[in-house]
């Protein structure tokens, strides 16, 4: 994708999100503060979820079953249970993070599990490291997970 295409896509996406994020009477569904919290949530979620998903998908270690159990339990316990009566920015961030991390882990894990092991074998044989193989392959999944987490968190509506 060329740079101009990326810019056009970004502009279109921003216009679409800002345009769609309004009720018919014109009031915004999400304030600028809420949107920036959602951006931060998406970035932090993906940053924490990527190594977790890679370890689950590509490494053998003791306690893997425990990590899977933790992931399933975290997916099953939704942050709506935890919402304080009057959410502040910090509590909204933590609340969204509790939803964003498991979602991002699942998306990245499913992609990372499908890497061909031959690539890792070849890289290790040539004296390289696993990260040089993992990082380029995982990039599309990360780029997919971040917007999805953002959308889940940005328009998580609360009746005020």
């Amino acid at each position: 994708m060329r740079t101009v295409d990326k810019l056009a896509l970004a502009a279109f996406s921003a216009a679409f999100i800002l345009g769609a994020a309004r009720l018919p009477d014109g009031t915004a569904l999400a304030s600028a503060a809420e949107l920036s919290v959602a951006v931060a949530t998406a970035l932090v979620s993906v940053a924490a979820a990527t190594p977790f998903a890679l370890a689950l998908a590509r490494l053998h270690f003791e306690g893997k079953a425990l990590m899977f159990t933790l992931l399933i339990l975290a997916t099953a316990t939704t942050p709506d249970l935890l919402t304080p009566a009057d959410p502040s920015t910090a509590s909204k961030f933590l609340n969204d993070l509790a939803l964003g991390v498991p979602i991002a882990v699942w998306i990245i894990y499913l992609v990372a599990r499908a890497f061909p092991p031959e690539l890792e074998d070849a890289a290790l044989l040539d004296g390289s490291t696993r990260y040089r193989v993992w990082l380029p392959l995982i990039r599309p999944a990360v780029m997919a997970a971040a917007p999805l987490v953002f959308l889940y968190c940005a328009f998580d509506l609360v009746v005020r």
């Binding site: 306690g63 339990l73 709506d80 009566a85 509790a98 499913l110």
Partner: protein
């Protein structure tokens, strides 16, 4: 040679305990602190009703776990997965016409779902009674989530299934055998993802209905299951929190 391959192959390599735990630590800590600790605390407090202080024993837990939303979520999955798989196989065929006819419908699904809800629940137009509203909700929800499911299946099948299907067909496999032996196994990770997303939607739906007074329950959960579609008609999914 066997030592070398043991060392190199990630599938047979010795345990990477240290590295794996370092990689897992941030997300694991976040999940324990943000998900498990509050959920455990909530479970501990769950036998007592928050407002009145009455002892509800397992009543609260049953309210959260059981209910119509669980049945509805199961039915939505049971309808949407075969339908999406069918649409994906239709789009996978070489003929261009099925793709041309299905794609605009899929792209418009969210908008159409929103307008159908406006018709069903709008002031003066709404005609849905509680019994049919369950089926309406299931229908609209299937319609809404069908594009994502279809695209997921299509993307998964597009990469790998064409050659396998051709080989299987040459060997005399029927369409049903191709679906059972090729399409379903390849699409299993995508199905898992759909199941996870549905689980999240289900738990959110139940949470709202569980925290609402009985009179408001019906209206709240039927709206909530909609998610994105409600944006189109300007009705936000309600969430009631104890003050």
């Amino acid at each position: 040679m066997s030592d070398l391959s043991n060392e190199l192959s990630p599938t047979t390599a010795p345990a990477d305990n240290g590295l794996a735990w370092i990689l897992c630590a941030p997300a694991a800590a976040a999940m324990v602190v943000l998900n498990l600790f509050p959920a455990g605390t909530a479970l501990l407090h769950s036998p007592v009703l928050p407002v009145t202080g009455e002892l509800a024993a397992w009543g609260n837990a049953l309210l959260v776990i059981g209910g119509r939303a669980l049945v509805m979520s199961g039915m939505i999955l049971a309808i949407e997965i075969p339908l999406a798989l069918y649409l994906a196989t239709v789009a996978l065929r070489r003929s261009r016409s099925p793709r041309v006819t299905t794609t605009p419908g899929l792209l418009l699904a969210a908008t159409v779902a929103g307008f159908s809800w406006r018709l069903l629940f709008g002031d003066g137009i709404g005609f849905v009674d509680p019994r049919s509203s369950v089926w309406t909700t299931i229908l609209v929800e299937v319609w809404r989530s069908l594009p994502l499911a279809t695209l997921l299946f299509y993307a998964t099948l597009d990469r790998t299934a064409r050659d396998l299907t051709q080989v299987a067909r040459l060997d005399g496999a029927t369409f049903a055998q191709v679906v059972r032996r090729i399409y379903v196994p390849i699409c299993r990770p995508a199905m898992l993802l759909l199941l996870g997303l549905r689980l999240i939607d289900y738990l959110r739906a139940v949470n709202v209905s569980a925290s609402s007074p009985p009179a408001a329950e019906r209206a709240v959960w039927t709206l909530l299951v909609l998610g994105v579609a409600t944006l189109a008609i300007g009705i936000a999914p309600g969430r009631e929190t104890p003050r």
